[in-house]
């Protein structure tokens, strides 16, 4: 019964978004049924559709988990976008700078670089909130812009192949590549960029679950989120929890860099993120801030991204911007849950103090 209720509202939100999206498609003169058939068909075909859907879902699982962990501590991390940029650049930097090392050393080093860089960038708003009480939402927004400018500076001035018109770094060492699924799964083509980072994302779902619901630290973090005053009386340091939550959140967002740099492009490519950090908010909300929900909704959004490309190409008027439209409507409906739930809504989780 509880499970049913947990599934019901996200499902209503998705269906409502698809209906409004369908009306928009009608208005601009295409057939919504055809468009949606195309969208789902291209996202679920084997092996390309499913392969690419899961590939697009991978960064969203990481950012969704990042938002989830912060959320459970009562914080909203809008900064996953900045955290993943810093981390992706850091992992590429290690892959380029220590290229002479053997893969056995280099690859773990690259992983650690992504996790530490993302975590550090996430810790900044955590410390600012814990120390000065300044709101994490504003600071993470500001840090997104700073991150983008910073990595773009390093790419342009220090790590670009001279003369290359594209804003990207030189290639990382071959030892730092992680395998594509095609090399492991027989019959799965290697041209599909789905790689081991997807498995890492699944592992992270399990780890986040175990951490939050099966450890003392996770309990303290959630206690801070659901009732900070009671938590403080119980001897939990709220300031410490805020910093811990933001650091873990940033590390999770940072792992997007592993998928992007070590598993896909093998270099840092400036502006690579298609708003993964912001979509992560949608993923976490739709997944009701639970790892299983995050996994499912990340796959749903992965399908939308994959299918959106086909809808763009094979309909007259619909462009892939449809995906952003659907996403926006989904979050709006999930946020305004009271719309479906009636006056007896509970927003305990979303109670916030100040900006």
């Amino acid at each position: 019964m509880k499970l049913l209720r947990e599934l019901l509202f996200p499902l209503i939100a998705v269906i409502a978004a698809f209906i409004i999206g369908g009306i928009l498609i009608l208005i601009i003169g295409d057939d919504p049924i055809v468009a949606y058939k195309l969208l789902l068909g291209s996202a679920l075909s084997w092996p390309d559709g499913i392969g690419y859907t899961l590939f697009y879902a991978t960064p969203l699982i990481f950012t969704g988990l990042a938002v989830l962990v912060a959320f459970r501590c009562g914080l909203l991390n809008i900064g996953a976008e900045g955290q993943l940029y810093v981390a992706a650049f850091a992992t590429a930097w290690v892959g380029i700078t220590f290229a002479h090392m053997s893969g056995w050393v280099l690859l773990p080093l690259c992983f650690v670089a992504a996790i530490i860089a993302g975590g550090a960038w996430g810790a900044i708003p955590g410390v600012l909130k814990a120390r000065f009480g300044s709101h994490e939402v504003i600071n993470t927004i500001m840090l997104n812009f700073i991150a983008v400018a910073l990595v773009s500076y390093f790419t342009q001035y220090h790590y670009k192949t001279p003369g290359d018109p594209i804003m990207e770094t030189t290639e990382i060492s071959g030892g730092a590549h992680i395998a594509r699924i095609g090399r492991i799964l027989p019959g799965f083509p290697e041209r599909i960029p789905l790689n081991l980072a997807f498995i890492l994302a699944l592992v992270c779902c399990v780890l986040v679950y175990l951490f939050l619901w099966r450890t003392k630290w996770g309990y303290e973090l959630r206690a801070t989120g659901s009732n900070p005053t009671a938590a403080e009386y119980g001897g939990i340091s709220i300031r410490k929890q805020i910093i811990i939550a933001m650091t873990i959140s940033g590390s999770l967002a940072g792992m997007v860099g592993i998928n992007e740099v070590l598993g896909y492009r093998y270099r840092y490519y400036d502006g690579f993120s298609a708003s993964y950090g912001f979509t992560g908010i949608a993923v976490a909300l739709l997944g009701r801030n639970h790892p299983v929900g995050v996994l499912l909704s990340a796959i749903l959004f992965g399908m939308l991204i994959r299918g959106g490309i086909f809808v763009d190409a094979f309909t007259n008027n619909v462009t892939k911007d449809l995906v952003d439209v659907l996403q926006g409507i989904v979050i709006l409906f999930v946020a305004a849950e009271a719309l479906f739930r009636g006056p007896f809504s509970r927003f305990g989780l979303l109670k916030r103090s100040k900006v």
């Binding site: 000065f132 709101h135 600071n139 927003f347 979303l350």
Partner: protein
């Protein structure tokens, strides 16, 4: 260095600060009433797209001539109000989390204008070019005067009218305002709608004032800079105006100084660059954001947000 500070730089500052000032002053009304406004970006995009699309249609399809940009401006403002109305209903009526729904509005408005222009104009997300003589014809001087006037009006409304008093009290202490007979939600609706109108005009100025068409994501973060200016200006009209001018100035400098300012030797060594290189544009771009973080942390005076900001008001039974 000296020839940087020219009259041209001043006008360029005014031009670049205009959309920021409009959006930030709008956001001021929303935030002082207690509703966070991270959806300024989305409202500006709505205004920018609608203004450009309507101006284009009024000029080329309906042949309204010189009236076109004004109709476009009005439409842009209305689009801002419409988006604000959706936001207001979700946040006030349904008590949704304001940051989350603001983010939703931003994502939606990132996609919707491009989606519609793709279909309407068979483009990859932009509107057709509007002829030069069909743009808002104000000179920077007139705009500067109007913005000064607008700031004065905002100040007057906020501090010298009953509405302003109610708005501020609803943002600080909604329970007390409610007990005094003020309708909290009505005041908050007005605050959010004013924000929508001004942000819509700000967006319209981008597409049919500063440039001559709408392009995909043309605000490129200006809504967030406006929000930053609002915080930097400590939620007060005059300070917010000054903050916007400062941020407009940094942008103007970063455009003008490409190749004009050399990197000082100390920093060149620090950054492992050749002395005599240009200052990397990225560092200038960071300035508004860094300043905001510093101000918010309380390093430059204290910056205190309205006390009830972000908290949905639950009327006691």
């Amino acid at each position: 260095m000296r020839d940087l500070f020219t009259i041209a730089l001043i006008w360029s500052t005014v031009r670049l600060a205009t959309p920021l000032i409009l959006a930030a002053l709008g956001g001021l009304f929303s935030e002082r009433s207690g509703i966070i406004n991270i959806a300024l970006e989305g409202k500006m995009l709505a205004g920018a797209f609608t203004a450009a699309a309507v101006t284009y249609a009024a000029d080329s399809k309906l042949h309204l001539g010189a009236a076109s940009p004004w109709i476009g401006l009005l439409a842009g403002m209305s689009a801002g109000i419409l988006i604000a109305a959706i936001y207001a209903i979700v946040c006030i009526r349904y008590k949704a989390d304001q940051v989350v729904s603001g983010t939703a509005i931003n994502i939606l408005m990132f996609g919707l204008p491009a989606f519609l222009s793709g279909a309407l104009f068979l483009s990859s997300g932009s509107t057709p070019q509007i002829p030069r003589d069909r743009l808002i014809p104000f000179t920077p001087f007139v705009i500067a005067l109007l913005l000064g006037l607008l700031t004065a009006i905002c100040w007057y409304v906020l501090y010298r009218t009953p509405f302003g008093l109610r708005l501020r009290s609803v943002g600080e202490n909604p329970e007390a305002a409610d007990a005094a007979g003020v309708s909290v939600s009505r005041i908050r609706y007005s605050g959010v709608l004013i924000a929508g109108a001004l942000a819509g005009i700000g967006g319209a100025y981008l597409s049919i004032g500063q440039s001559s068409l709408f392009t995909r994501n043309m605000t490129s973060g200006r809504g967030f800079i406006a929000l930053a200016a609002l915080i930097f200006g400590k939620w007060r009209p005059v300070q917010t105006l000054l903050a916007c001018l400062l941020f407009g100035f940094t942008e103007a400098v970063s455009i003008q100084m490409q190749g004009a300012i050399k990197l000082p030797a100390f920093f060149a060594t620090l950054l492992r660059q050749t002395p005599g290189d240009d200052i990397p544009i990225q560092f200038i771009q960071m300035v508004p954001y860094l300043l905001t973080i510093i101000v918010l942390a309380g390093f430059i005076g204290s910056s205190r947000p309205p006390r009830a900001l972000g908290i949905p008001y639950q009327k006691e039974k």
